[in-house]
């Protein structure tokens, strides 16, 4: 993992997907590991089914502002494919790594038949065109299989860590889960996290490549 400082990570999705939770978990784990962390969020009215973004600034040296300048993202973690595209267009650059969930959350305009949602293939083509490396994770499928569709976001955290895109090892993130959760919730979240790790590792093995 290249030691870029600050490391700029954007977590994006749709209100209600647990975007904020993801950024907090990662943020706290990073603080525990001694990093200076800043997280900027879009809040409020965006919660009602609107686009949500968290900007994470990760540094050993200094604390950075809550907004990543245009074109300066290093990693984009997408909980929703079209949101990943949106963020990539504004904050991406030729060196960016993108890792996204494959399952769409249809905007209201598509649900009511007023607009068309692109296919996942179309989305992946553009993601690959606009990044150095693009990962597609079927996080919702995995979460549904586990009986907990709401945990797709945690699966994505696992994939992010498994792909080596954060300066954090799995144990450090698991420690954070243990500090924040307990009982059945802890068990389920850990399970989802580990499944995410496995998804990323499987892909690494298949392609024989290393991320970044």
């Amino acid at each position: 993992m290249k030691e870029k400082d600050p490391l700029n990570v954007i977590v994006t999705g749709v209100g209600g997907q647990g975007n904020v939770l993801v950024s907090q978990f990662i943020g706290r784990a990073l603080v525990r590991a001694g990093y200076r962390v800043t997280i900027g969020e879009t809040y409020g009215a965006s919660q009602r089914g609107g686009a949500v973004m968290s900007h994470l600034r990760i540094s050993r040296q200094a604390q950075y502002g809550p907004l990543i300048p245009s074109g300066q993202a290093d990693v984009i973690l997408g909980l929703e494919p079209v949101e990943t595209l949106r963020v990539l267009a504004q904050y991406g650059n030729p060196a960016v790594t993108v890792i996204t969930n494959s399952r769409p959350v249809y905007p209201l305009s598509v649900a009511i038949g007023a607009a068309r949602y692109p296919t996942v293939e179309e989305i992946m083509t553009v993601l690959e065109e606009l990044s150095a490396s693009a990962w597609l994770i079927n996080a919702t499928d995995v979460a549904v299989e586990m009986g907990a569709p709401i945990l797709a976001n945690i699966v994505m955290v696992g994939a992010l860590v498994g792909a080596g895109l954060l300066p954090l090892g799995p144990e450090e993130v698991e420690l954070e889960f243990q500090e924040s959760l307990s009982g059945d919730r802890l068990e389920l979240n850990l399970k989802a996290f580990k499944r995410g790790l496995a998804e990323a590792k499987a892909r690494l093995r298949r392609s024989g490549s290393v991320s970044g």
């Binding site: 749709v14 950024s23 907090q24 943020g27 706290r28 603080v31 990093y35 200076r36 962390v37 800043t38 997280i39 900027g40 969020e41 879009t42 809040y43 409020g44 009215a45 965006s46 009602r48 089914g49 609107g50 686009a51 604390q63 950075y64 502002g65 809550p66 907004l67 990543i68 300048p69 245009s70 074109g71 300066q72 079209v82 595209l85 949106r86 990539l88 267009a89 504004q90 991406g92 650059n93 030729p94 249809y106 905007p107 209201l108 305009s109 649900a111 009511i112 038949g113 007023a114 607009a115 692109p118 179309e122 989305i123 553009v126 065109e129 606009l130 569709p149 924040s180």
Partner: protein
Amino acid sequence: MSITAYEPGASQLLMGNEAIARGALEAGLGFASAYPGNPSSEIIGSLAEVAREMDIYVEWSVNEKVALEAAAAASFAGVRAIVAMKQNGLNVASDFLMNLNLTGTNAGLVLVICDDPAGLSSTNEQDSRPVAKWAELPLLEPATFQEAKDMTKWAFELSEKIKNVCLIRSVTRVSHARGDVRLAELTPPGRSARFAPTMLGQFTPLLVTLKHNMLHQKVKQTKEAFETSEFNWYTGPEKPELLIVTCGSGWYYSLEAVRTLALEESVGILKLGTTWPLPEKLVLEHLARTDKVLVVEEVDPFLEGNLKELVGDAFSSLGPLTFYGKRSGHLPTIGELDPDRVMSAISTVLGRERTDIDAEYAKKGQDLTQSMVQNRMVGFCAGCPHRATFWSIKNALKLDGRGGFVAGDIGCYTMALGPSGFFQIKTVQSMGSGAGLACGFGNLGRLGFGQPVLAVCGDSTFFHAAIPALINGVYNQANFTLLILDNSATAMTGFQPHAGTGASALGEPAPNVDIEGLCRSLGIRVEVTDPFDLQDTTEKLLDLMQRDGGVRVLISRRKCALVRAKTEKAAYKVRVDSEKCRGEACGCARLCTRVFQCPGLVWDSEHQKAKIDEVICSGCGVCADICPASAIIREA
């Protein structure tokens, strides 16, 4: 993770608002009050979470005026108190504030105002900082999360030193962003609250001119303290080509802009944490370094104006100075700041090009994604009672045929301005103003007005501000119908409890003020309806509208969908019989998906039929009543 979960000395990832709350606890806070308002709500929210543990008093007040009054009482009685509000809340509290500043305080009283640049969750865009100049109170603007905590702690000391309110102004990007903060020791509050005036008029603004003079002395005191404040600093070369003077969120943006443009050798940054009154000596010292000054701040050129005022007085002792910023057009006068805007301003002022932009990638990104990425419409959740209420309102107004309309108010239901509420709301201003406007519209009869007037407000808004307007309507015999949308929640801001939900800020049982009883006590016609019964609600509303004369109230009562999801099972299992579904054909033209637009109803363009999204559908069953083919089936 609560704000008391970690030990002093540890680093905790805290939201700006949480850092402010933590700072207050470290200062020995005893009393906290607020009305929810984005981006301020978490300050009192996080204090409420630890209130029992810290044995302090925390309340959600009915509105910001009462919140400030209650906190002032605590201060008078020797208890350190904090009040938090968004910019609009300041407006509501301002009458009391403009008396409190002259009155003075006893124990430290800190008023935190969280502005919402670009009005991302507000009906207006407002820079609240001029209130400091207007009320002549010290103003602090935290630029970092550490500062948010440390400044709040220090604000209590300053407040007690000058015996007056200390203002802290934050913005969304500080309040809602998170960063690691080093914690210090918590301080329990004193436990000897007592109100004991020793002088005539001590806790009043009287005699006004005397107290005003005293206020001016306090301002002088504050200026002195600000000259040596740890919250003001300079970074950069001795003689920079350009001096950036910034405050609040502008600090990080400016720092990052200078670094990205690699201009550390030629650009210096004066970061001010104490922005009114300005520490004049300090500021003039730094202004003397250069002849070009760029002022970076959110929202209005407040700091810029005050600097120019200062320079105007000290003109003869400075060299030529050119100011850049909002007034020169280098930074926008509307909306939020961000690092890109600051970078563009710097490079324009210095005549340098920006080297950080990959124009080719940016264009490619635009071209490739344009057709695939659209704005996500915001709207009512699946199962929201507001959608059902506004459907009935729409139908009733159309059937009535006299050009009736709705004066709106603030809450989730404000979205009825748009397609989610069938464009029914026609006016929106501040809390309670729907009923206020209705009082005006409802007394234009003799001037030719003949349209039925409806006003809407939520249950929390009702308690906050609509009651005086309702009473005015009764007393002045205005002709309108007020719909109170009672969903048992202050939903838009995060489901804080209020006077009608039966729970306190600490989650304990609290008296439940009966809206219906209160309205009936005014001697007017009050009806209650279940918005999910579309026909009944439409009929009741039509009937009320046609009874011209005097105020009528219709309470549309049904719990918020998100509250129901937590506490109840879905009422129905809903599905579409695709055989019966008429889809786009004459006889339907996709009424449910195209017009009703509940996110739980999806248009399956492959099969040209409507279908239920089982993940999103809340099971309220209302859509079954609007389908003309009875193709939507609900089963209990």
